[in-house]
Symmetry: C2
Subunit: 389 residues, 2 copies
């Protein structure tokens, strides 16, 4: 495998947009291309992610239209990937391997989604299509319900009083909203308190409104290239160190909702490929679709023993002054979650962190970063480890 670099990144502000999916993607894609020093005509393929376009805009088969909107050449195959919330992370992984293999030298990877614009009712129903439609949806199980069950099981398994776990989860939200307040592209840029969370509407006990990430609109994109092709073009290429992807299938196959087995399989592969371990990760963007999800994730990565990660935000270990900075962008919780765009937006943040470009939310001296995206209720997991040199 050849060395693979990220030469440019771009994303729209996340939030509520009046732009179409293609318009948002063009904005993010052009920012990534301009930052990479290449021209649209040099892009040899588009790896594209979108989930809800068929419902929101009556548009399937969106990849070739995204390519032509950006002025990519016809000889650049444009391919749509869909892996629920992990959509563009999965697209990135396939792109990076094909660049590593020499099939392409320079490709664009990204995603776009209108999840806020479609309204909460349709968004909730179409999001739920990422879980198993034969066994789960008919039982009334939606994603908040699954993660609420995981929180109850976590509290029971590790004998943590539920009120204590709820305060710890609230601290995850407080931290990520603080981080988001430093990110001009975040959906929410306002600090909150523990009381904000605990006084908010109950969604699925014990998860309250501020335990849940929002539906967002937005797009993101990254230029992936064979490292030698871009060393002269950009000041700070960031390198792909290791990747993992695993598929756990339907929820009824999970033995223990406090352990996301697909994540454990995926991160093991990524660590091995990168030749690093949990102790080497300086900064991490992970899939905090709900506050409990951040707690489960940091345990799966080996940052904490199982059952020991729940109070990490409470005691400040995952904040900017902590030992392992988690979701400096604000995470899905505050930066927002435009499904198909989330993965390459996480990659965008890690690239900017490793380049030292994040201003007030910069993790000082970050050299190795981890991206983690979960698709559905534990069905798909994808991890990307990036390094600055």
């Amino acid at each position: 495998m050849r060395e693979v670099a990220i030469a440019g990144v771009g994303m729209t502000k996340f939030g509520i947009s009046e732009k179409s999916n293609l318009e948002m993607f063009a904005e993010a894609g052009l920012e990534a291309i301009e930052g990479s020093g290449v021209e649209p005509k040099d892009i040899q393929a588009l790896f594209f992610g979108n989930c809800l376009g068929p419902f929101e805009e009556g548009q399937a088969h969106m990849a070739p239209f995204a390519a032509s909107e950006l002025g990519l050449p016809m000889s650049a195959p444009a391919t749509r990937f869909e892996a629920a919330c992990a959509t563009s992370t999965v697209a990135f992984r396939h792109a990076a391997y094909l660049v590593g293999a020499g099939v392409y030298d320079i490709v664009l990877v990204g995603g776009t989604e209108r999840a806020a614009a479609m309204g909460t009712s349709l968004a909730t129903r179409t999001f739920a299509m990422g879980s198993q439609s034969k066994y789960e949806s008919p039982a009334g199980l939606t994603f908040p319900g699954v993660f609420a069950m995981a929180a109850h099981m976590y509290a029971k398994k590790y004998t943590i009083p539920l009120d204590e776990l709820k305060r710890c989860m609230a601290e995850v939200a407080v931290k990520n909203h603080y981080n988001g307040s430093l990110n001009p592209k975040a959906h929410f840029q306002k600090e909150i308190t523990v009381d904000t969370v605990l006084n908010s509407m109950m969604v699925a006990d014990p998860l309250q409104l501020f335990d849940c990430c929002p539906f967002s609109d937005g797009a993101s994109a990254v230029v992936v290239a064979e490292a030698n092709k871009v060393r002269g073009l950009v000041a700070h290429p960031i390198y792909v160190a290791g990747m993992g992807q695993a598929s756990a299938g339907a929820l009824y196959l999970q033995k223990d909702l406090t352990r996301v087995r697909a994540r454990e399989t995926s991160i093991k592969h990524a660590y091995e490929e990168a030749g690093v371990g949990p102790e080497d990760i300086d900064v991490c963007e992970l899939h905090d679709c709900f506050t409990i999800a951040e707690i489960l994730a940091i345990e799966s990565f080996g940052f904490y023993d199982f059952g020991k990660g729940y109070d990490a935000a409470l005691i400040g270990e995952t904040g900017f002054k902590g030992k392992k900075v988690i979701n400096p962008s604000g995470g899905l919780k505050a930066k927002g979650h435009p499904i198909g765009a989330t993965g390459t937006a996480q990659i965008t943040e890690i690239v900017q962190q490793l380049r030292g470009e994040c201003g007030e939310r910069q993790v000082e001296g970050a050299k190795i970063g981890l991206v983690d995206t979960l698709g559905g209720d534990f069905g798909t997991l994808c991890n990307i480890i990036l390094r600055s040199s």
Copy 2:
């Protein structure tokens, strides 16, 4: 790149099914795995295609559920591709490159669709989402309309009386229905005559009902492996010789509907990679979504000069006794068109032809075969060239 082989193929009967997408895919996938001599546990990744599942079954993110239905290991990433009708051909291309690159040794590729079961009205509306939703659908343009325009333009450009072109198109349908009558897995296994076509309902002038392929249910799958891994396991591995994929974007970017530019770009790449030319192709499964589409395709491949391919079926050149056998399976026209399953079903037919296993519809001595799948109204094109040794 390592040598890449197809070790096993499988497909359900195409038609109208009461089975779910996952049930159909399990049937096709197990047939492919059993025929390949490998075990489900040996499969290292699933490249999966489905288009309409979110509408038909309320199921997005279908790939990991398909993997667990088949008993594939959690460490096997399962990824959904969507490229309208070219969905599983595009999935195959990415799988074959990643096996060639050494990322995987043995993978399963396939697709599944319930397009008949959802009913004509919903199928028509959701199929149309494969065209550009901002410029084309609002203008009332559906796929029959696009191909009807292409037929009119073809007749005008090459000064062919429309009635003559209609007779030639009808002969394409007659040939493909005859071929389908020899295929026990075809949706339609009944011969028709030119009169059947010319007396059928008008759909979009000049295309009549029997100029159009049906909506079908079905699934198909193939096992792709590094050649050395399977040489001892199966009697006749078939090899991937060359591949191409191109993206033309929206219809308004097409300069001439009688020339599918994305196909010309894609086939050029596939020929170059395979080191062959049109004269070397013994058998071809191509995207005859409408009878005119077969005529356009055989010209793009270089089998005929532009404007000269329209009477090939009429004079018997593309039938079993002709010089270039087109769609021996019956094609989309008679074998059927379960969108996400179509590409790997075309590959299945070519593999069985190159193995000499097709009985009454065997193309004698076929050594090199071509697969061609079109996504949307010229948006995506993917070609695969296979060889028997």
